[in-house]
Symmetry: C2
C-alpha cells in the first residue's frame, strides 16, 4: 500500500455514502495527511486539545476516558474504516476529555479543524456526509448506553461477542473488561462461570 491507495480507501468510503465528482475526490485526498502510529502510541491525549479527526486506514485504536479515581473506561474501539477523534474538543478547541491509543501499528488519515472547515466550504456535499456519520455514531452510542443501564455484565459481554466476533483475538482482555464497564478480575471470573 502507498499514499494513493490510502487516500483512495477514504474516497471510496465517502463515495459509498454520498455522490462526489472526480474533482472532489482529489480535493478530499489533498485535505488529509497520512500518519503512522506504533503500538501504544497516542493519537490524542486527555487534557490536551484534540485538533485532529482521524480516519483509520489500518490498525486499531482504543478511545478511552480516565476518571477522577484514575480508572480507565473504553468508550469505543476504532477499527479499519472507522473514525477516531473527540468532536467536543475538535470543534471548541477546549481540552479533550478522551485519549486515543494504538493497540497495534496503525495508519490513519488526519485533518485539523481549520482544514476541515476549508474542505467543507470547497465540498459542501461533505456536510451531509458528516451529518450522516455523526447520526450513525449517535445511534450506536445510544444503543450502547441503553444496554449498559439495562443489562448486566454477562449480557453486555454476549452482545459484544455477537457484534464483534474475533475481538478477543485483537484486544487484550483487560481492555474488553474496561469496555464492558467491569474490572479485569470480574471478566475473568465471568468467563470461567460461562464455561460451566
Amino acid at each position: 500500500m502507498n499514499e494513493t491507495a490510502y487516500k483512495n480507501q477514504l474516497a471510496d468510503y465517502i463515495a459509498q455514502r454520498i455522490d462526489i465528482t472526480p474533482k472532489e475526490r482529489e480535493i478530499i485526498a489533498n485535505a488529509y495527511s497520512i500518519k503512522t502510529f506504533k503500538k501504544k502510541q497516542f493519537l490524542f491525549e486527555q487534557g490536551h486539545i484534540c485538533d485532529i479527526e482521524a480516519f483509520v486506514v489500518s490498525g486499531t485504536f482504543r478511545i478511552f476516558y480516565v476518571d477522577t479515581k484514575g480508572l480507565e473506561h473504553v468508550l469505543y474501539f476504532a477499527f479499519k474504516d472507522w473514525w477516531a477523534g473527540d468532536i467536543a474538543s475538535f470543534n471548541s478547541a477546549e481540552p479533550s476529555g478522551l485519549s486515543a491509543q494504538a493497540l497495534e501499528d496503525s495508519i490513519v488519515l488526519v485533518i485539523d479543524p481549520t482544514k476541515k472547515e476549508e474542505l467543507l466550504k470547497q465540498v459542501p456535499a461533505l456536510e451531509r456526509l458528516f451529518r450522516l456519520i455523526t447520526q450513525k455514531h449517535l445511534t450506536v452510542l445510544q444503543k450502547r448506553f441503553l444496554l449498559t443501564v439495562s443489562a448486566n455484565a454477562v449480557e453486555r459481554y454476549n452482545e459484544l461477542i455477537k457484534r464483534s466476533p474475533g475481538i478477543e483475538q485483537l484486544v487484550p482482555q483487560h481492555q474488553i473488561a474496561s469496555y464492558l464497564g467491569i474490572l479485569p478480575e470480574s471478566l475473568s471470573r465471568m468467563k470461567k462461570q460461562l464455561l460451566k
Copy 2:
C-alpha cells in the same frame, strides 16, 4: 402565542446557529407543522416507526426505553428549544427503540422524513445545522455515558441537580430515578442519606 410565533421561535433558533435568508426562513416555517400534546400523551412509541422529528416549542417530554424486563430507562428529557425523535427509526423506517411522552401539556413543531429530505434539498445550509445539532447531542450523550460508568448514583444525582436546577419541581422523582439509572426506592433512600 400563535402559529407564526411558534414558527418564529424555530427560525430564531436556527438563525442563531447558521446564516439563513428571509426566504429560507419562510421555507423552513412551511415545512413544519404544529402539534399539541396533552400531559401523558405519546409523541412516538417504542415498536412503532418514528416518522417525526419534533422541535419543542413549549412543554417537556421524557424520551425513554423499556427493556426486556419491562423496566423504563429515561434517555433524556426534552425541554423548550430541544429536539425529540429517534434518529435511527426516522432515517431507516424501522421500528423505534424509544418512546416519547409529554410530562405536561406541550406544543411542538414536527416534520416527517420525506418533508425533511425535501427541505434539505431546498435549504442545503440546513445540512450543516443538523450536523452541528447531532454533534452536540453526541457530545452530551458521551458525557452522560462516561459519567454513568465512572460515577455512582450520588455523584450522578449531584451532577444532574447542578446541570438542571429546578428539574425536581418539573419532573416526578421516580422519573429522575429512571434517568439516573436507579430505582425510585434507591433514590428515596439516597436523598434521605444526603440530608444527614
